[in-house]
Amino acid sequence: MTALIVDDVTKVYGEGHTEVRALCNASLELGDNEFLALLGPSGSGKTTLLSVIGGLLAPTSGTVTVGEIQLTALSRKEQTRFRANRVGFVFQGFNLVPFLTARENMTVMAPISDATRDEIEARTDQLLEELGLTARRDNLPEQLSGGERQRVAIGRALVSDPDLILVDEPTASLDTELGTQVVQLLASEIKSRGKAGIMVTHDLRMVEFTDRTVRILDGELLNG
């Protein structure tokens, strides 16, 4: 089944002589249980595409459909709810809440998503175990290593059981070895849950853990 359809999406910033076309007629399909690498240099439009797919940015034209939901038809409020329940984000540089423990950084989704606190807590404990963080569950981010922090971020993205996982440069703050381990773990978690995932990266070494690679250059998608 198709998890995501990006249809002829264009995103333009500014107007007149300051106009910048960040995305040009981008189209993409992603199946369930598919993990895709979006590869491109800085400024190629990959983060813009990720933002549009994640309901963080409205496209200038075109449509984005996640499962049965057409994102471009949602109100701001509905988009917020969509992000809380249907999409999991893994950000560049971990971006954990600094005063919350590893476990609390994952249960932070409890009041946000539609799942009950009990459900979120049960999934959190399971994810902590799968991600090898049980012993570190009560540590604050500053007490965790870079790899551990990124694993907590992966846990947070998965805890609300979303259909689509969006990952932004997960290795940007990690050394090669740690980066490889984290992406491997990420791929395994996404695949074992049968989810769809897109990973933005400019690191060619990471594409081996994905099912497919799509390149982006100057806002245009180049398949293959």
Partner: protein, 374 residues
């Protein structure tokens, strides 16, 4: 809300600064309010706690107990006015007195025991009987001067000592301690202490009135003035504000307290503005993962409420410590009603200050969480 509470618990140092600032301002405001209340009661207690709804002055008295003079013989005519439930008499004599050779200022107030105008808050002893000679009840501030029940107080210039048979509270006049005596004793003392008043007959300086609860006050007051022909009758509240300096004093303190509350609002607004700026990245992440503006604003309001309530409680505790250490001569009165009003005002100003960060929070773009901008 849980996140907001955890943030306050885990970053106590940061929150201590705003709580400390609020506590300091609350402390200042409570002390100022206590001084304002103390001065107000000290200046007006004799009228405020005198169980009356209105006061009749002579028309040339300009609402002043000292300047006004009314013949006591006119009292039955006042009582006969429809809507007047009862009337009393008041006379004031500002003097110095001695007990055990210790001199102190005193306002001797003549009154009719059991009638409107007598002090209501008896705290020890008993009241004089109507016409009982040379006995009086004293404001309990005189107890702090060392006067006890049964002591004799001798006014300067008088040869007739007055025996203290009871104590009342909050019955001062123009910041002087009061000694309440039957009007006949007051006449006798005044004639001795102020010889120039001899031969003026049986007079009072004002008639305090209690009105029928169902009567229209303004109609009754006009009827009293019409019946006497030479009087000005005002409500007790108006009479209190006519005491020299009271209105100015009250408005000065109100202005200072008002400005202090604006400062509470500004301090909270500035704190939340800075903290929101600092947490911009974190807020963008929370928005990106699906936190609504309502959820984030709820957290801010919760934090503002907790900071202001804790700050208030600390400020309140410090003000109570100061109250315990203040000498009795300082006119500071800590009233529960004032404390409650100030608590509500502090919470309101704290919340209002926090509301100023709302626009900033709403304006945070969740998309900035991606691309390493957050």
């Amino acid at each position: 809300m849980r996140i907001a509470l955890l943030e306050m618990r885990r970053r106590r140092g940061r929150w201590a600064s705003i709580v400390g600032a609020i506590a300091f301002i609350v402390f200042l405001v409570l002390v100022l309010a206590a001084l304002a209340d103390g001065l107000f009661i000290g200046s007006t207690g004799a009228l405020q706690n005198g169980d009356s709804d209105a006061l009749v002055y002579s028309s040339d008295g300009r609402r002043s107990l000292v300047r006004s003079e009314l013949p006591l013989a006119e009292l039955p005519a006042v009582v006969a006015v429809p809507g007047v439930a009862d009337a009393g008499a008041l006379g004031v004599l500002l003097s110095t007195a001695a007990a055990d050779a210790e001199l102190f200022d005193v306002a001797v107030i003549g009154h009719l025991p059991g009638r409107p105008g007598e002090p209501t808050m008896l705290v020890a002893g008993r009241r004089p009987e109507p016409g009982e000679p040379l006995v009086g009840i004293a404001d309990r501030a005189l107890r702090d001067e060392g006067i006890a029940l049964g002591d004799a107080v001798l006014l300067t210039g008088s040869a007739q000592p007055v025996t203290v048979i009871g104590f009342v509270k909050d019955a001062q006049y123009l910041l002087a301690d009061t000694l309440w005596v039957p009007i006949e004793t007051w006449h006798a003392l005044r004639a001795e202490v102020r010889p120039e008043t001899r031969g003026r007959g049986s007079v009072a300086q004002a008639f305090p009135l209690r009105l029928d609860p169902t009567a229209e006050a303004s109609t009754v007051l006009s009827a009293v003035d019409a019946a006497l022909g030479n009087s000005e009758t005002v409500t007790t509240d108006e009479a209190i504000l006519s005491i020299p300096g009271v209105q100015q004093q009250a408005s000065t303190f109100t202005a200072i307290i008002g400005v202090s509350f604006v400062v509470v609002g500004l301090v909270t607004a500035l704190f939340f503005a800075l903290i929101t700026l600092e947490k911009r990245g974190q807020l963008a992440i929370l928005k990106a993962i699906g936190s609504s503006n309502r959820f984030l604003l709820g957290g801010v309001i919760t934090q503002a409420l907790i900071a202001t309530v804790v700050g208030y409680l600390l400020g309140f505790a410090f003000s109570r410590l100061l109250a315990a250490a203040l000498p009795p001569a300082v006119p500071a009165t800590f009233l529960p009603g004032t404390a409650l009003t100030l608590l509500l005002a502090t919470i309101a100003m704290g919340a209002l200050g926090a509301v100023f960060s709302f626009r900033r929070i709403i304006g945070i773009d969740p998309a900035s969480a991606l691309g390493g901008e957050a």
